[in-house]
Symmetry: C2
Subunit: 140 residues, 2 copies
DNA sequence: CTAACTTTTTGACAAAGTCCAAAACTAGGT
DNA sequence: ACCTAGTTTTGGACTTTGTCAAAAAGTTAG
């Protein structure tokens, strides 16, 4: 995220302290939840309402400025890095989330021929596993 | 699902009317939600508690008798068809869910080399799109 | 600087599940 | 068939994540 303020203006969004702070927080904490981001923003602004966090996240997501990912058994997470078709690797036990470049070149999985008459617009891949820390914890 | 009762016994689970009914309901309605299943079971047994539906679905899922899928913006859905690594195609507007055989042969996407030290055990793929009915609705 | 329009805030509400304790049921041994 | 021990089922309260709505505050164009 180069310049949060410019980004907002480019999308015809009024610039507010809350939006700038949320945008910076998403940038600083990839894959953070709304709750994580609220905490981070509070550190910067002192306070922000829960609703505002959701408002901002929703509008930024609609405009395509950030991306929302919603793995099973986890609240929604947000990220900055968009437009490069990467996927995610999620720890089943602690929820730690990492980016994974599309494994087999360019969007190989996307090539689902139109099934059942659906118009497919995205292939989402989530790799499930156990992160190093949780592997260690389980062994002990 | 050949014989629900035998299936339960094979997994050392006491056979109860609720379990049989839920198991049959999952079989009859692939990709149904807990709510859908509750309605279906009520048609068969007259009544069942919400908690029991969750209890049964959880135990069956743990035993690997059924599979739970949790697409974004949808309550959990359950299915009968397990062990064949198939994926799902979900309609963004109505939630309709269809099975999709793994597009490129055998688990091609699963070949994410161990990233970040994670021990990967599953690759989940969800294709997002618009089902025929919703395409028609949108055009009108 | 003002006016029009958005955002932010606050508080109530909703959906999907889980937690807990009491009542009912299942399965195994007599 | 009947007990008994151990599970399940039930009902109700509670939690989490998020949305709705109306009033107050802020932003931007003129």
């Amino acid at each position: 995220m180069r310049d949060p303020e410019a980004t907002l203006r480019q999308h015809a969004l009024p610039v507010t302290a809350q939006r700038l702070a949320v945008l910076r927080a998403v940038s600083r904490h990839p894959h953070a939840t709304a709750d994580d981001l609220t905490a981070s923003v509070c550190g910067e602004l002192g306070t922000i309402s829960r609703q505002s966090v959701y408002n901002v996240l929703n509008v930024l997501t609609e405009k395509g400025i950030i991306r929302r990912i919603q793995p099973a058994d986890s609240p929604a997470r947000y990220e900055d890095r968009i437009g490069d078709n990467h996927h995610h690797l999620v720890c089943r036990s602690c929820g730690r989330t990492e980016d994974v470049c599309c494994a087999v070149g360019e969007a190989p999985c996307l090539k689902a021929h139109s099934h059942h008459g659906f118009k497919i617009d995205e292939a989402e891949v989530i790799y499930w596993g156990t992160c190093p820390a949780c592997q260690k914890k389980k062994r002990s």
